[in-house]
């Protein structure tokens, strides 16, 4: 299998404080990789280094085949990113949002048009395509936001707590979208605080105080830590 993310001893320090302490891992193509950790464990900093908006202090990493130190611009072209805020423009319509984000990834006008139509059909948005995004429910925004992150067919999509504040049914539907994207060969790198979602991942890493303390399939993790579910695994590790 091809590795789309490879990190070796990736470290980020802010003065005397080491936010990310020499983490090493790899993610395979088409994998759903769960990146877990308590608040403040260093997840966000790690992601920032991988998506090219923060420079690592030391170590090495390649994302989509490009070096995080020297080829951040190429990385940006090959990844999608969705934050916990489902950041779309509320005062733009669904169509205008899609056009704008397609535009900044350099999609041609024709491509944007086809993509927009495909997206509207897929998410059943015919009736609201010309409505302002601000008037839509959170769950819809989340789905549109995810689809927008996939607009330019990235090799990897980074999802930073993509299901925060969303009801269980919508979360379930959202994970179906994730599966579909992974099935089509997109690698999914996802952080979450919902442990039931961790069970859906192919492999899960758990960060504690800047280090990756565990990395395996959910099944093996439960076995190793003699836990009933991922929640117990997480608690055992995070409490140390």
């Amino acid at each position: 299998m091809e590795n789309v993310i490879e990190a070796i001893g990736l470290t980020k320090s802010f003065g005397a404080f080491t936010a990310v302490n020499a983490i090493s891992f790899h993610v395979q193509k088409g994998e759903i990789f769960g990146f877990l950790g308590a608040n403040g464990a260093g997840k966000t900093t790690a992601i920032k280094m991988l998506i090219g908006i923060a420079n690592p202090t030391s170590g090495a990493a390649k994302v989509a085949g490009f070096d995080v130190f020297t080829e951040a611009e190429s990385i940006k072209r090959n990844i999608g990113y969705m934050s916990q805020k489902f950041a779309l423009y509320d005062d733009l319509t669904v169509k205008e949002n899609i056009t704008f984000f397609g535009g900044i990834y350099g999609l041609t006008r024709a491509a944007i048009k086809t993509k927009t139509q495909a997206l509207i059909d897929e998410l059943n948005l015919e009736n609201v395509a010309n409505h302002l995004v601000g008037s839509l429910p959170l769950g819809w925004k989340q789905k549109i936001s995810f689809s927008v992150a996939l607009l330019h067919n990235p090799k990897i999509v980074f999802l930073d707590e993509p299901t925060g504040g969303v009801d269980p049914i919508t979360r379930r539907q959202f994970w179906e979208m994730i599966y579909k994207a992974a099935h089509q060969g997109t690698t999914i790198f996802v952080t979450t605080h919902y442990m039931d979602e961790a069970e859906y991942c192919d492999r899960v890493s758990i960060m504690v105080n800047g280090k990756i303390e565990a990395l395996d399939t959910p099944k093996n993790l439960k076995k190793t830590y003699k836990a009933e579910n991922m929640n117990d695994v997480f608690l055992k590790l995070a409490r140390g």
Partner: protein, 368 residues
């Protein structure tokens, strides 16, 4: 380029769909210029005064006629009792009382110099001063008139001639100031708010993860405001020319060039503010307190820089608005060319570069 145009288009959607910012952008300049032009003025017009005439003779009548004939004063009341003076002031309508002493004409003829007392309501010191000056002037003119056949020896006549604003219209002073305030407000506050809004919404993060370079993001946010500010500057100039007869003696092209330069200064400041503030509210507060107040108070817009205490005079030098107001007045009222204002222009240019470099640096640090 197409990428960039898409960005600018999106920015216009933001502005045009937000009624509040639309109002600040286009309503405010018009309201401010009209307010300053019409309401706030140092000139006096039809001020109500009262007369207490002890003599009631030919001379006092003539003087009173002169005063009431001018458009500055309206004689509202005749007083016959000393006690009434105070009560007249307390009612507040009368701003000055003129008291002619007894035997006015007789004293004048017998060369004993009669006195007119002017009592002015100094709760508003500026107006009181102006009223007393105006009445004085009217009386002096009258004295000259009656003396015109009498040869006077040893007399010095001071002849004042006001250049660049012969009628001393206060609007000539306010237009450059208001233009400066508005351009500063629109350019700096609106850009800093619109950039911090993206931070708050989380869209800034998305933009930074995209292949867009940070400089493109900032330029895309700023360019619509350059465009709108230029329109604003034009609206202000047109309004002041047609409504207030403000002259533009100098070159319109030079005026345009200097305005664009100042707009860019303000935008650079706006970017700088957005790099240090996390929320729209902070950005707005910093813009208002940190920019508006100095612009209004220290730039020489309302209070002349020359009469400030030395420390304030020194501080006023680092306020871009001060230099822009000097430039504006020079072009509009004196009609000078770039040879006379190159120094001020250079200072503005240097400040702009400084702000741009500083904000780019700050912006990069923030990215870490």
């Amino acid at each position: 380029m197409r990428l960039f145009l898409g960005f600018v288009k999106k920015e216009f959607y933001h502005i045009l769909r937000d009624r509040r910012s639309l109002f600040i952008l286009f309503g405010m300049p018009i309201i401010q210029i009209l307010l300053f032009g019409f309401a706030i003025t140092n000139e006096i017009n039809h001020v109500n005064i009262a007369i207490f005439d002890h003599s009631k003779d030919v001379t006092t009548h003539e003087i009173i006629n002169k005063i009431s004939a001018s458009s500055y004063f309206t004689i509202n009341q005749l007083i016959n009792n000393e006690k009434d003076i105070e009560s007249v002031f307390k009612k507040g309508k009368i701003k000055a009382v003129l008291i002619f002493e007894r035997d006015f004409n007789k004293k004048l003829i017998t060369n004993k110099s009669p006195t007119v007392q002017i009592i002015a309501d100094a709760t508003d010191p500026n107006t009181a001063n102006t009223i007393s000056n105006y009445i004085n002037a009217i009386i002096q003119t009258y004295v000259k008139e009656i003396n015109k056949d009498v040869p006077v020896v040893y007399q010095i006549n001071a002849q004042s001639h006001m250049v660049y604003n012969p009628e001393l219209k206060s609007v000539f002073m306010f237009v450059p100031g208001v233009m400066t305030v508005i351009l500063m407000l629109v350019s700096a506050m609106m850009t800093s708010i619109s950039i911090t809004r993206e931070k708050e919404l989380g869209t800034m993060e998305i933009l930074l993860v995209s292949p867009l370079k940070p400089i493109q993001v900032i330029a895309g946010k700023v360019i619509p405001y350059v465009f709108l500010s230029v329109i604003n500057a034009m609206v202000i100039i047109v309004l002041s020319i047609f409504i207030f007869k403000m002259p533009v003696q100098g070159s319109l092209i030079l005026l345009g060039f200097e305005s664009v330069l100042f707009i860019i200064t303000a935008l650079a400041l706006g970017i700088l503010i957005s790099t240090i503030s996390a929320t729209q509210q902070t950005a707005m507060m910093i813009s208002l307190m940190g920019l508006m107040l100095p612009v209004i108070i220290l730039s020489g817009f309302i209070f002349p820089v020359g009469s400030m205490p030395l420390p304030l005079q020194i501080i006023s030098n680092i306020i871009p608005a001060k230099w822009f107001i000097i430039i504006l007045k020079a072009i509009m009222l004196k009609g000078v060319g770039i040879m006379y204002i190159w120094k001020e222009t250079l200072i503005l240019l240097a400040m702009t570069l400084f702000f741009i470099i500083l904000s780019t640096k700050k912006y990069k640090i923030r990215l870490e």
